[in-house]
Symmetry: C2
Subunit: 418 residues, 2 copies
């Protein structure tokens, strides 16, 4: 594709290859994406996103979660600008830290306090450490396949990780009460915490909301051992329930971890907790150079305030439902079964009988060329800025996507007939 | 002090106590500071800082390092605003990531690549993990008492830390070749990396620049084991030498970690490295939601460009020298010996014969009341925005500081005579 070769994106990839190992790291590496996806981005506005070559997309990744009100939400931008004009990184926190902690405590029934960091990994590592500090015990239960960050104790990759980094991690299967209780038994006498994602949202797998039975069993197992129940709300936080994702199943964690959407794209993370773990948390030495930076906290106050006032979750659910229904219909029309799982505002779309992801890639490759930024293997994200028109455009592109899948099957079938 | 009790700072502390464990966490907790220090800050400009009650300070902490050009440096602010108007946190990196990586590779003789994070702890954890990934070995040498972050493998506190978190950490004494070689021997066959701070800057201790002999021995020990020499330049980076702090001793690390001052207060960290560790780094899965955020990268390009063009290090050295000379003279005049150690642009001032820090606290308590923000136990920081007048004001306040120390000694002597 000549257009691609001469693009600024392609030029930047070539420059990046020289000065960044592999050209790009981690989840934002476009090498893991189908043909036609840009690596470098220029700007965003509302539900739209532009790459460095000026191609416009309806954005269904929302920066992999952080953008929950839409890019450049005017109220968040105004709050951030106002704070930035005064100060961001100073010798200590600003008033905005107290305002944000108070707002979180008001919004989250489980929490009486908050503490702030920068990364989701920071929040999860801090929560795990608090559970150990508060119990004097070591074992932490983690669901197999779950993503809780990219640091040695929980990274999905074992490269550079030692066995000792995970010496006290005990695995269980999400939503499987028996395996959870077995893991708790295994940790008996040494159980510090039980970690569960807001819902099961593992890469490339069907999503699954927690069952009430599982959530209650996790609470009971933590209580029986006087250990911490830790809900990882880093990815799902504020998209499912403004009181915390497990409010829907009536179970309250001791500790919750937040990041991504908390400040509509400004870098921030938080741990919230209850009285059981306040004292241990106050004794812990945990810190970072930018953890008190005021702009992200002012942005978070504006973000959470707007989410609550605008019933943003309802809006995301309505449009997510429209997208799911539309994709379901198209799938039937084309005779190409798909699985759509988990909450509609965090869509996960996987093709049946697609072990090598060929169908998903053909689909996304066709839709991205029509200005729809889907992801073939990771859950996607709706924002409060998405419109009915965005969903209609996405479904128009999806029609081409399903055709591309069928064409790719015909072509490969043709090849195999030769 | 009625003024204090009725202050906004005091009101915010009371509110914070309810919703933040202990009222504040980590290194920015003002509870560790002498009487008179504010906890909450409103704004900064150049070398000046204002607390929430409108008290103005000449800032010798520079947000604990990040502010290297002064608060609100116009060129950094302009670059950040320009990028913010387009986009910060998007579905992938922006052009600014490539520009920044290219600039670092150009500036740092040891490096052919860069990778970005948010916290200094991220950079150090990533560097340690790269050393393990690139060698297939596990042991990492760390100087005793050195600060490399507040995560379990390196935190100065052991609360919530398990023995396994440090199973492969081997300690040595900074600047002690024999102890370094002994540690390397102890790790023989399993040595992944040797970590050394840019210089010895442990909390509450005299600082010490690396000796050429020590730096060369660290390089030799790493080479002999084909392990990584990792310089932690998180705190000192870009204040001592724009080519990396160990350029002064003629030793080049394999990996360097950066954060704090890299973007004049915008949240960013980096690992830079050489060809030996490029491949391992490209294979590592390390990532964070905000690690590609463009504003901090645009700010970093503007920061490093200004530092280089303005010979900022020379300026900081000249003013740091003025401060050191002035404090030295006052100390002699008052007959109160102090130890001033390490590089002048990162001043460390400790009173002789002050085991309970009473002298240091009395000194700082007096100077902060006169609008000079010093720290009694942590190294301080000069910035390019400090002026001769700032130093003169600081020395005027220090005159009162020394008097306060003498008064406190007289008073306590009086008490003990009764």
């Amino acid at each position: 594709m000549d257009k691609q070769v001469n693009s600024l994106d392609s030029e930047l990839r070539n420059r990046a290859k020289k000065v960044v190992p592999g050209g790009m790291w981690g989840h934002m590496n476009a090498a893991a994406l189908p043909e036609g996806y840009p690596q470098f981005f220029a700007r965003g506005s509302g539900s739209r996103l532009w790459d460095v070559d000026g191609n416009e997309f309806v954005d269904f990744m929302c920066s992999w979660g952080p953008i929950i009100l839409g890019h450049h939400h005017p109220e968040v931008d105004e709050a951030a600008q106002k704070q930035l004009a005064r100060g961001d990184c100073l010798n200590g926190p600003s008033e905005s830290m107290v305002e944000l902690a108070e707002l979180l405590v008001e919004m989250l029934p489980h929490a009486t306090w908050a503490q702030f960091q920068k990364n989701g990994s920071d929040a999860m590592t801090t929560a795990a450490t608090i559970s150990r500090a508060g119990t004097g015990r070591r074992k932490i239960l983690v669901a197999s396949g779950a993503y809780h960050g990219a640091v040695p104790w929980c990274s999905p990759s074992l490269l550079g990780v030692t066995a000792e980094d995970r010496a006290h991690i005990v695995q269980y299967e999400y939503n499987d009460v028996e395996s959870l209780n077995r893991a708790a038994d295994q940790a008996r006498g040494d159980l510090a915490g039980i970690i569960a994602s807001a819902f099961k949202h593992d890469y490339g797998r069907d999503q699954c909301l927690p069952t009430r039975e599982f959530a209650k069993a996790a609470r009971a197992a933590a209580d029986a051992a006087d250990a911490a129940l830790i809900v990882d709300d880093v990815r799902a936080g504020f998209r499912l329930n403004l009181g915390g994702s497990w409010e829907a199943v009536g179970v309250r964690p001791d500790l919750s971890a937040w990041s991504k959407s908390i400040a509509n794209g400004f870098a921030l993370a938080a741990v919230t907790g209850n009285e059981r773990f306040r004292d241990a948390t106050s004794k812990l030495f945990t810190t970072g150079s930018f953890w008190c930076s005021a702009v992200s906290m002012a942005a978070a106050v504006a973000t959470l305030t707007a989410l609550r006032r605008d019933n943003a979750i309802e809006h995301m659910e309505r449009l997510g439902g429209m997208l799911r229904d539309g994709l379901g219909s198209l799938s039937k029309t084309h005779g190409l079964p798909i699985r759509q799982t988990g909450p509609v505002q965090m869509p996960m779309v996987l093709f049946e009988d697609d072990p090598d992801n060929r169908k998903g890639f053909a689909f996304c490759s066709a839709t991205v060329k029509r200005g729809i930024y889907f992801h073939p293997l990771h859950n996607m994200f709706l924002s409060a800025a998405h419109t009915t028109n965005d969903i209609e455009r996405a479904l128009d592109a999806a029609e081409h996507g399903f055709r591309a899948v069928r064409d790719s099957l015909t072509n490969s079938a043709g090849v195999s007939r030769n």
